[in-house]
Amino acid sequence: MDAISVPALIPPGGLRSGELLVITVPDDPAGPVRTGHFPGLAIFPGVGLLECANQASLAALTAGGTANATLAAIESARFLSPVFPADEVCAATEITEVRDGWVCSVRLTVAGTPCALVRLRYRS
């Protein structure tokens, strides 16, 4: 079964461009970011960037021949600059194989400026 997605917050899949995953932050005036995070000053939630990193990691793992990887932990994440509706978030992923799965290091940028650095751990 597919898990429920949160398309109003994070469009599933994004567009792949080479080894980058590109996700455009939704800009719906009635959507959850503009109405709820926050009224008067819409900022894409940090957990949305974590989900972008997750989608990029899963796409990279799948492209490398790994199916059914499950997110086990967020080893670390640093949020460097705010992301706003309509921003294009580019995610570049490096995969390291570890004893019980994989660690994905994801660098997220908007217009070339880093907005988050994320390390996610997956198990099979």
Partner: protein, 162 residues
């Protein structure tokens, strides 16, 4: 105890991004806050028939972070981001996920303050339901940023578009 209106006086999140229902216990160094997951939530509106209805992990973490926001905003409310500093997720480490939550679960968020400065607070904690751990957070940073410093790039974009 702090009810929904009291939570809205502390943090700026609003429907459908307000993911806390009630604060059960609060003190200067810790909070216990709860959120009931229901099938009528905004997020389930677009779920396909027979979809796995586990609560998305990103929303589980966001809900826990809002409990952390309540803790750090008890002494400096930030209900309106245009007139007060914006509480933002600055960093996180050591987040481990357990069993997923779903409709019918009551999420119990526990957050403990490790240290605080004038511009940020470091917290730790966990989320559980029915005695089972769903989420553990070794360390998270809530940073306060003035709105005008955040909107600098937006202003530049608008100028460019003009």
């Amino acid at each position: 105890m702090i009810g929904l209106n009291g939570i809205k006086q502390l943090i700026p999140h609003r429907y459908p991004m307000l993911l806390l229902d009630k604060v059960i216990e609060s003190g200067p160094a810790s909070v216990l806050a709860v959120k009931a997951v229901t099938a009528s939530e905004f997020w389930y509106g677009s779920a396909e028939e027979n979809a796995d209805c586990s609560y998305p992990w990103a929303l589980l973490l966001e809900s826990w972070c809002q409990a952390a926001g309540v803790l750090v905003c008890l002494s400096r409310p930030s209900a309106d981001v245009l007139t007060s500093a914006v509480p933002l997720f600055g960093a996180v480490s050591g987040v481990r996920f357990g069993k997923p939550a779903g409709p019918g679960d009551l999420l119990e968020h526990r957050v403990r303050l490790l240290r605080a400065t004038s511009s940020a607070a470091v917290v730790e904690g966990e989320c559980a339901t029915g005695g089972e751990t769903l989420l553990e957070v070794v360390r998270a940073v809530v940073a306060f940023r003035p709105a005008q410093t955040l909107t600098t790039r937006l202003g530049q974009q608008e100028d460019h578009h003009d």
